[in-house]
């Protein structure tokens, strides 16, 4: 099989990079720690660096990793579902939809799981809009898809601005993070990780079906893929993954665009490999980007969404400029 060695090698490399990225995130900051210190502190609750390593940096790194993994997986599923490599939770406005849902719930005084549910509802509504509008006759056209995303995102940011205007001033700062994506408030919670694990496990027996779906719905159906069921499942799953990521770090863009595409260039289009590789690469990319965002201009902490946008915008334009889209 071509790429068989590449695939296993990439997966191993990504596991290694995830570990290295995590050690980096734990060690770098206002109080720099050596790798050796981090390694010691990780295992010993009585170590003086333990609170910094686990309490501050560890929780944030884990939350950010999880958000990156969720976004990369959501992007991959959207690209396969829409058969368009430009599909991404942020580009399509699904992240904005989730942010509007969450913000509206916060303004109304909700907290916790209600906010998460509202974010999911917002993501589902935008996905439904994209589905309804971007599909002209025939396959998903890149132009319609992007236009739909741009318009929906513009509408969503207007609603976000409206909610921010209406919101009481003391809440304003904490609400800003929904706009551009910021991990400074990210705290570790088991739910996003559980969502990621359950979603990945659910997808395991559907890898070959996803491979077939990439060739179009009719062709997939002709080789026995239950297309209608799969389409609904992917639609809901991609919305759930996006909403979960947004509740963690706000609307961070482009991870779902860059990661699956880069992985595909390296190992081809087999989803049984694309899924684990995208999860690991997405998590690591966002974790490293966040480490950079909080240390490069320290003590100033940049929102991580700025870093991913600086990486993602040129990447998006490069993809767009290539003739094959």
């Amino acid at each position: 099989m071509p790429f068989a060695e590449h695939r296993a090698a990439l997966l191993l490399l990504l596991v290694g990079l995830t570990g290295a990225g995590f050690l980096l995130a734990l060690g770098v900051g206002a109080l720099p720690l050596s790798v050796a210190t981090v390694w010691e502190a990780v295992w010993r609750p009585d170590h003086p660096a333990f609170p910094v390593v686990w309490g501050l940096r560890g929780a944030r790194a884990a939350a950010v990793w999880c958000a990156g993994a969720l976004l990369a997986l959501a992007g991959l599923l959207m690209q396969t579902l829409l058969r368009n490599p430009l599909a991404d939770p942020y580009v399509l406005g699904v992240s904005s939809g989730a942010a509007v849902g969450a913000l509206a719930a916060i303004v109304l005084g909700a907290a916790g799981l209600t906010v998460a549910a509202a974010a999911f509802a917002g993501a589902v509504v935008v996905m439904a809009l994209v589905f309804a509008l971007a599909r002209g006759a025939g396959p998903w056209s890149a132009t319609r898809l992007i236009l739909t995303g741009v318009i929906v995102a513009a509408g969503a940011s207007a609603v976000v601005a409206l909610l921010l205007t209406l919101a009481p001033e003391q809440r304003l700062h904490s609400m800003l993070f929904w706009l551009m994506g910021d991990a400074s408030g990210a705290a570790f919670s088991p739910w996003p990780m559980a969502t990621l694990i359950v979603a990945s496990l659910l997808l395991v027996p559907w890898g070959r079906d996803l491979n077939a779906l990439a060739y179009g719905e009719a062709t997939a159906q002709s080789v026995g893929v239950p297309v209608a069921q799969l389409r609904w499942g992917l639609y809901l799953l991609a919305s759930l993954l996006t909403a979960t990521a947004v509740t963690l770090v706000g609307s961070v863009g482009f991870v779902g665009l860059i990661v699956p595409h880069a992985v595909r260039i390296m190992i081809g289009n087999d989803h049984r490999w694309l899924i684990p590789c995208s999860i690991l690469a997405g998590g690591t990319l966002l974790m490293v980007a966040d480490t950079a965002a909080r240390t490069l201009w320290a003590p100033l902490q940049l929102p991580v969404g700025i870093v991913t946008a600086l990486l993602g915008v040129p990447f998006f334009l490069w993809l767009l400029a290539r003739a094959r889209i």
Binding site: A212, A218, T219, G224, G268
Partner: protein, 261 residues
């Protein structure tokens, strides 16, 4: 008890919007038969093929696959018995040729199963059958239009169905590869399968078809043996173009009666 036809349609009516594409079409396709679907552009050849493949619903009428109503087969069972080639297949850019052809093995693998060495061997044979040996690791976006079309045909060959439904299989192919693909399908017919293909090349149709379906723009259909239906007179009426037949079967060919200006 005689063996049931591999694929049969009974009193099939197809409509698209307000337009009736065909009315009360019946046909029985048996092992070894090669059916050609002919008709001018937009007459409903693709719709008929997709309906026969079970990919869209007929307005009225019934379709049976190996004697059982199509609706009683699961999607996977259908896929083991009939395969379908899209008129303009879609190709994900970064996939490899081998990955594409292995999609054809999907109906034979369990939900948790991975392709075995046997599946890969079948895929390689299918690639060899369309003259793409050595292309396994190539990415689809680096292929020419004709090469992509052959990848799609190799996927269908790897699926090894009993009934091959093909929507203009010779699209984008050069003359040699047109013949090679049609010969491969003929070989499958001789081995017990059946072919139903929409074609625009009347000369290939005359060479390979044993049976024909003629679809007219007014919704009338003619179904029968190729020898009866593929005549200059009938085809002239069908296409609204005066044709003359030259030569004798199997080298019968049709050319426009008057040269263009």
């Amino acid at each position: 008890m005689p063996t049931p036809p591999l694929l049969a349609a009974d009193a099939l009516t197809l409509t698209l919007g307000h337009r009736t594409l065909c009315r009360g079409l019946s046909l029985s396709v048996h092992s070894g038969e090669w059916w050609v679907v002919l008709g001018p552009n937009g007459v409903g050849k693709s719709t008929l093929l997709a309906t026969l493949a079970g990919l869209r619903r007929a307005t009225a009428g019934a379709i049976t696959l190996a004697g059982r109503p199509l609706t009683q087969w699961s999607a996977r069972e259908q896929a083991q018995r009939r395969g379908w080639l899209a008129q303009s297949p879609f190709f994900p850019s970064e996939a490899t040729v081998l990955e594409a052809v292995l999609v054809g093995r999907h109906p034979y693998l369990s939900r948790w199963g991975w392709e075995t060495a046997a599946d890969v061997a079948i895929a390689r044979e299918a690639l060899a059958a369309v003259d793409l040996t050595g292309f396994e690791a190539r990415r689809l976006h680096t292929l020419s239009g004709g090469e992509k079309q052959r990848v799609a045909i190799a996927t269908l060959l790897a699926q090894q169905p009993d009934v091959y439904l093909l929507d203009e299989p010779t699209n984008h192919l050069d003359l040699r590869h047109q013949r090679q693909v049609l010969e491969q399908l003929a070989a499958r017919c001789r081995a017990g399968a059946a072919v139903i293909a929409a074609l625009h090349d009347l000369n290939w149709a005359a060479r390979y078809a044993t049976h024909a379906v003629l679809l007219s723009p007014d919704g009338d259909t003619e179904v029968g043996e190729a020898a009866t239906l593929l005549t200059a007179e009938r085809l002239s009426t069908l296409y609204g173009l005066s044709l003359v037949a030259c030569g004798n079967p199997p080298r019968r060919h049709f050319v426009p009666a008057e040269a263009g200006t």
